[in-house]
């Protein structure tokens, strides 16, 4: 039902562990963010291109990830050319592309479940602050399971709205949807309690 953005493959990038990739991404973006010189951004751009080719996800997939940036990059480029010249514009647009592209590369080469597991284990040191990683993992799976349920609820509510002749009313849609959402949460809570997930 819910498909992640992961592109299956067996490249060296796919085989690295999620934690390693996240750490490398964090360091690269941190360094780039602080030292935003032409050399660093050019280096980042070369790395992005090389890693994309190495990962085997395809240039087209990568361009699709960068596409939402298009209007903003054009805006920034035009603004910087006007204000500080083409060199600064290239730097700004390059930084945007590389910071988004590298992060997208991690998403494209790591399974959703692996990233989720990585986040949950990242919560473990917070246990002493009262964070319960298992309950966090349970919450995330419940959310994934609830999405199709709520989609169905929203379709029911839309049909009900049509039957009442109130197609144009946002209120006749959103109020029943919200009430049914809260009721659904009540039922989920009861179901959890029935399965032995008690209050801590």
């Amino acid at each position: 039902m819910l498909l992640g953005l992961y592109v299956p493959g067996n490249s060296p990038l796919h085989r690295r562990r999620a934690g390693t990739k996240l750490a490398v991404l964090g360091v690269l973006l941190g360094v780039m963010g602080v030292f935003r010189t032409a050399e660093v951004v050019t280096g980042g751009f070369v790395a992005l291109t090389a890693l994309t080719l190495l990962s085997g996800v395809g240039l087209r997939t990568m361009l699709a990830q960068l596409r939402p940036l298009l209007w903003f990059a054009v805006f920034v480029g035009a603004f910087q050319i006007w204000l500080s010249g083409p060199r600064q514009a290239a730097l700004a647009v390059g930084f945007l592309l590389v910071s988004v592209g590298l992060a997208a590369l991690v998403t494209l080469t790591t399974r959703t479940q692996e990233l989720l597991d990585c986040m949950v284990s990242g919560l473990r040191p917070l246990r002493r602050l009262g964070v319960d990683p298992e309950r966090a993992a349970l919450t995330m799976s419940l959310t994934i399971r609830s999405i199709p349920v709520l989609l169905e609820l929203s379709q029911d509510v839309q049909q009900a709205r049509r039957a009442r002749g109130a197609e144009r009313s946002l209120r006749a849609f959103a109020v029943p949807l919200l009430i049914r959402t809260v009721r659904h949460a009540d039922r989920v809570g009861e179901a959890l309690a029935a399965r032995g997930v008690d209050d801590p």
């Binding site: 992961y6 700004a92 910071s99 992060a103 997208a104 998403t107 144009r168 209120r171 959103a174 801590p200």
Partner: protein, 200 residues
């Protein structure tokens, strides 16, 4: 400071509202008739979550949603997702949602008794717009390399009218929920806390 983990029913509410934010971002399923341009209701989901779940559970619901996005599920409006949503120029708005939901929840929980739904509107103006833009705009200016704050504002301002409409809609819907399901709103929260203190 150690905080107790969430009670089971609260956990269910957090999970289901995280799913609601996701569902409201799916334009194929929810069409706001009467408008020709598709408008995303995801911010509406964040505002509703803040208004209904209160200061503690609302940010947890938004955090759960953002964790799933970061893990690579395409849950943001337009079928977008992945880590690049956080490293890109609009990442600040996502962080703003998190803080904004907490602020909305706190304000709604601390509603002075002489105010009615007008207070809910105020809470959403502050948390759902002021806080969100306070994170989103400076982040955008940083990500775009010395883009001036006023230029970053210019790039964000197109969303402001839609956000104002969403505040109005949230207020109306919150009123509907209050009538249709009175125990769902955080006013209830104070009662519950009193009961806890008696029990403790």
């Amino acid at each position: 400071m150690r905080r107790t983990p969430l009670a089971t029913h609260d956990l269910a509410l957090v999970a289901v509202f995280a799913a609601l934010v996701a569902v409201l971002g799916a334009p194929g399923y929810i069409s706001v008739s009467g408008l020709s341009a598709p408008i995303t209701l995801q911010t509406l989901g964040v505002m509703l979550t803040g208004s209904v779940l209160g200061a503690r559970r609302a940010p947890l619901a938004v955090l759960t949603f953002l964790a799933l996005v970061a893990a690579g599920l395409p849950l943001l409006a337009g079928g977008r997702g992945g880590l690049s949503m956080f490293t890109g120029p609009t990442g600040g708005f996502l962080v703003g949602w998190l803080v904004g939901a907490a602020v909305i929840g706190w304000l709604v929980e601390h509603r002075p008794s002489r105010f009615g739904l007008g207070w809910v509107a105020l809470a959403n103006l502050v948390g759902g717009i002021a806080v969100v833009y306070a994170f989103g705009v400076p982040w955008m200016s940083w990500a775009a390399t010395d883009l001036s704050l006023s230029a970053a504002w210019a790039a964000s301002i197109v969303y402001l009218p839609g956000d104002l409409i969403k505040v109005a809609v949230t207020t109306v819907i919150a009123g509907g929920l209050l009538r249709g399901y009175p125990t769902a709103m955080p006013v209830q929260h104070r009662v519950r806390r009193d009961r806890d203190s008696v029990a403790g």
